[in-house]
Symmetry: C4
Subunit: 237 residues, 4 copies
């Protein structure tokens, strides 16, 4: 079996193993980068994470080199989307050798986007794309309606609550935060109306808004069902 | 190309450009009016916003004059819905020249309703209307059921919590606010039951109420899917 | 036109007017009973509400007498569901003439259940009933699953949080309140996990529980759509 | 009627009574174990619960013995899933006779899993399983997308809020708790963004995330409807 087959293809045994090893390495590296942010880590843990990071980066560097070397149209991989992500994923390590910058470290988390390559493997994502295509127009309409709804809610609550709670609703942009937390029904409780007018207004906006925010999910669900039916018809037809 | 074609029609190049310029101007003006409400703006920013407002209003005034001038049945536009909105959108500026009234300023936000003219452009809104027509009766029923549910929840929680929390649940109208925040699952946390009876009651109301509040969105989703199918059948039929 | 036709039937002009007048009176009386609970009402308002209540009760008493008098199998109405509700709706007034009991007043709110008679008028409720019939088994299953889910969540969070927050999670029944507020996504914020174990447990319960709680609404929506289709087929068939 | 028929079968009168008696006993015992956790129970209540527990355990022990005795391939029941659960349900009682361990008591709650045997009785669970089969791929995809979404939200909010609220967002794992509470729209209000960047980021994550979290429920609903249709076709076909 040639190296090219292992690195570039995923229908051979070697290719599959190479792919799965890469995925495992990505997940492991994302996990360690996540743990690294924990405060009060023991010195042993910090040391382990540092060594682990060196090993991971060396492995990613080898993988990157292999991909560059086996790329058929010479520089195709280097300038592809995943080529750039792979480079960004290892570059901070080499850059930070000279000067230690904490903020650069998080950049290495771009590695997670490499999991998107899994695209190729699942038929479900393709199905999802077709469902999105079917319901495209309605979803765009509902997203626009959601934005309009959020804006009008912010203007209204600003009008009703600004005088009573100047600290909580100092301006329309600030009121937008309330609109987001309310119409999505998250309702943290950091800002809420206290005037009668504001409460009645919130009621009407919620009655209208809940439907608008919830419909797109229902549309996607029915569209996905439709795509599934089409496929089974194509198979049997 | 005649002026009438540009102002009144939207299927010519000039008409399209005129329409898009108007939309851009509306969005820009709504944005500046929003930013204007921010506290602690620098004097430069305030000055910029004031000049910007003058320019925008002059442009809207020109647009209004053009629409009045090119309106075929002479005063048709002036007394139309959009004609009135366009007038309300510029009037506060000229009125506030004499006496400065802050509250009048917000009135200019009616400009945003001019975006509703976009109606004409999207087929999706028409589809939405037909879906609403299909599910009309059920949606009315569920809206009535929601109102009844909210009222009964308010009466019940008032009965259970009034004695324990007279500050939070002083009356049935006040308890309605709790009912709205709870049955929509927003749950700010400003009012909530503390008695055993109130908590058990909340559980039953939520079990019943969640369904009632969530069904209309599902109905709209399936109705929209139906309309889409009808259309594709009409096309192919 | 005979009195019987007006009181007992609803397909004559007199009958319709009588029905609508009754509905208006019910809504008016429910509204005044609601306002009555407001604290700090002016003496004038209190007096107006008292007079209003006397007038309303007299009118309901007349209506009740008419219904009893025109009931064909003599006592059929008196012992019917609505006959009892109508009696309960006026009885507290006469009982409280002798001794003033505040708590008895709220009983008069049973009047609102008289609106259920509207059943007869809308075809939508019948449709709703048929949809409930179609999805009956699944909905029962999901309600049982919801109860099991709530109970298991309460046991779990009690296990994880009892030691850390004995005040908030003193027992499994108390923890049920947390489970209700969390799985319905209301999230008041009066109780929430603070331990790592409790948080991870909450995550898994939410992943499982959200689906279980949300599916019944979707089921009702699709069942209602089905009923609508059946009806239009019956009509055209 | 033979003992075997009563214990092992559920289509005879005796078998049905035996099954229902067992279910009632399970529910009663779970209820008492739940009440047992309540603080400040009166000595009488504690004594009643203790006696009740002895009676229940003796009954369960008899049932266990009967099942072991009537099991056809001799030890089949002892090593089956339900046999183990039945053993775990009674074992803590006999173990705690010697040494009193409070924590072991909760183990007896495994009894609740015996209700899963109800599986056999309802066709709805089977239908549910088939619906899960139909929508399997999409649901897996959405669960993966949910996890990715939660992780990216945690990373993002950590980036925006860590500096402003080091207490609330000390690390990415801690930020995950915020992501869970927000994207499920529970929104307890114990942690929420306060910076402009964090709020805008929350808005975008919610817009994307709400759909992803809500779609699986819709998928299950449509899949369940499909299964119901298939069944009625099979019946009539």
């Amino acid at each position: 079996m040639k190296l090219t087959d292992i690195v570039q293809k995923n229908d051979t045994l070697g290719g599959k193993l190479f792919d799965w090893a890469t995925i495992a390495l990505i997940l492991y590296s994302v996990l360690t980068l996540t743990i690294e942010t924990l405060p009060n880590l023991s010195p042993t843990a910090v040391q382990f994470l540092e060594v682990s990071e060196i090993v991971v980066t060396v492995l990613f560097t080898i993988e990157y080199s292999l991909r560059v070397a086996t790329s058929r149209p010479k520089l195709k991989y280097v300038f592809s989307f995943y080529g750039l992500i792979d480079l960004i994923a290892i570059a901070p390590f080499y850059l930070s050798l000279g000067f230690d910058v904490r903020s650069i470290r998080l950049v290495r988390l771009v590695r997670i986007f490499r999991l998107l390559k899994l695209n190729r493997y699942t038929k479900a994502i393709d199905r999802f794309g077709r469902a999105l295509m079917i319901a495209k127009e309605e979803i765009i309409l509902f997203v626009l309606a959601t934005i309009a709804m959020l804006y009008l809610s912010a203007v209204g609550i600003y009008y009703f609550e600004h005088a009573a709670q100047p600290e909580q609703f100092p301006s329309i942009p600030h009121s937008l935060w309330w609109a987001v937390a309310t119409l999505t029904t998250v309702g943290y409780g950091d800002v809420y109306p206290i005037t009668m007018g504001g409460k009645v207004f919130t009621f009407f906006m919620l009655m209208l808004g809940l439907g608008i925010v919830a419909v797109p999910a229902g549309l996607m669900a029915t569209a996905l069902t439709e795509v599934r039916k089409q496929e089974s018809r194509e198979k049997s037809g």
